[in-house]
Amino acid sequence: MTLELSRLRKAYSQFDFGPVDLTVEAEVLAVLGPSGSGKTTLLSLIAGITSPNSGSIQLDERELVGLPLEDRRVGMVFQEGALFPHMTARENIAYAAAAIDRVDELATLLELEDVLDRKPPTLSGGERQRVALARTLATDPDVLLLDEPLSSLDAPIRKRLRDELHSLFESLEIPILYVTHDQRTATALGDRIAIVRDGDPEQVGSPSTVLTRPTSRFVARFTGNENLFEGKVTDRTADGATVRFGNIQFQTTASDINTSTVTVCIHPSRIEIEAPYIADGDRTANAVTGTVSRWLNEGSEYRIDIEIEKGAITLTANVRPPTFERLALENGSEVQVLIPKESIHLIPEL
């Protein structure tokens, strides 16, 4: 199955959606964007809840635009589940199922056996979303759309359900669009990620590419690349470019840059912190010294601001707790900052 959107456009009084071109094979495409970026509109257009002004949506040669939503074979899991409140969990799933065996099969798959005879208001958020997913899967859809199904759940349940979804999606072999504003969910579940802005996929690529090789400042900021600086390319070789920002030269592996002004982009998780007296034995990394000006314990990691060159630039780095404790970091600590060449990403400024 291949879902293909071409020149899809929808005009609203507030903003214009598209034109969007997007191809989704039998894979999980995580659609990531801030609220109001048109993520839900994209799903509504594919599902048939909204009609586009122009463009086409093809599912293996079958044109979906113009078809009523009941004839599209597009399954949608809504944000809060949209379960029918007057039906039990079993009735909700059976309503959609072609054969009654399917209800028990899906209940087993999604571990719903114990809640089948309860009505939605008495179910927990996680249970509701699993019933909603079972109900949608009961129709054996050709495409699966999910609209932030985990956003209203507590962290532990969200993580568990995310793991479950991951293995479930692999077994489905249909195009799956998963809308979320949470970068972690997107990278965990998506085979590819599309970063959308005003409905338009600004960058589509593998999670690691989108995270470390953003093509625009918007994508960079939205994927957590907090270190963004204006820089000048001072030298180009076959191995990469040299870039200057904050009065320091940095070696990069960037080879396809043909403008002299660039946005330098370094993901905080790609920066390493060491004690100042340890010599840089690793010649592939740029090394500068700096002073810790602020730190924040975020649980699984520490977020540290380091002032370089007396505050000419401030780098933000994520540090794992063992490193933070080994170096006994505090405000004012002098540290050595190691930035591997390949971790400095350059975005051409036109």
Partner: protein, 271 residues
């Protein structure tokens, strides 16, 4: 009395007035104004005598006419009103506002004016009325006339109340149903109507209660066959107040039943 001892919290005003007590008294007086006449009606005539007069042919005939005509009017109002209510609930815009205003018009129009309006279309001298008489199915001075008058006045209750009931059903649920491959009609039957049912039933109950009590427009269109409100008026004018009591009591009982339905199976729109 205006400065009761339990008045510390409600704030004694500049003029030494206890506004909470004043408000309670005002509301209390109004409540008594509702209840006292009702009780007085039942006390003004011995229970035995009421029962004895209940099988009087005029009482039985008017009750039959009223129950039959109000039932027909309510069915018509529901059949024609529900689709309109659904459309109003699911559309937004200038046209919707105008349509809603048209629906509410019979509610604010004095019933006698409603009757006059209807006579211009269905009256014996109108083309439609004339044709109907020629076909042996007169639209005035007939059960049909009663139904026309009652439907005009009572059907807005179905539309307005059912509209609110449909609006309370999250449209996402309808989208969900249709995305599961169910057509609009299956969705309406299995999702929208069951969820809106208590509100729709409230609308139907209110319409029935209004149809049963309809007097003004009915008088203009169909003095005969006599409905209960017309019979009360005729009995009062020709025979005196005492003779109007039995039918009035019947009507009070029907109204009480409607209230009971509203507060049990239906969802009371005014709650």
């Amino acid at each position: 009395m205006a400065t009761g001892s339990h008045s510390n919290r409600s704030g004694t005003g500049t003029f030494g007035f206890d506004w909470l007590s004043v408000a309670l008294v005002l509301g209390g007086v109004l409540l008594l104004y509702y209840v006292v006449p009702m009780v007085s009606l039942f006390l003004s005539i011995p229970a035995g005598e009421i029962l004895a007069r209940m099988d009087n042919p005029t009482v039985v005939d008017s009750a039959t006419t009223s129950l039959l005509s109000a039932s027909i009017s309510t069915v018509i109002a529901t059949l024609f009103g529900l689709p309109l209510a659904y459309w109003l609930a699911r559309t937004d815009g200038a046209v919707t506002k105008v349509v809603l205003a048209v629906v509410v018009l019979p509610l604010v129009l004095p019933p006698t004016v409603g009757g006059i309006v209807l006579l211009t279309v269905f009256g014996p001298s109108s083309p439609l009325g004339e044709a109907a008489i020629a076909a042996g199915f007169p639209l005035t001075r007939s059960l049909a006339g009663v139904v026309l008058a009652q439907t005009f006045v009572a059907s807005p209750f179905v539309v307005v109340t059912a509209k609110a009931a449909f609006e309370s059903v999250d449209q996402t649920l309808e989208y969900a149903s249709r995305s599961l491959g169910k057509c609009r009609w299956t969705t309406a039957r299995n999702v929208t109507l069951p969820l809106a049912a208590p509100g729709i039933l409230a609308g139907i109950t209110l319409a029935f209660a209004r149809a049963i009590g309809e007097f003004g427009a009915t008088m203009m269109l169909a003095y005969y066959p006599r409905t209960m409100p017309v019979q009360i008026w005729v009995a009062f004018i020709e025979l005196g107040l005492d003779n109007a009591y039995p039918v009035a009591i019947l009507l009070v009982l029907i109204a009480a039943t409607a209230l009971l339905v509203l507060n049990t199976v239906a969802s009371n729109p005014w709650e």
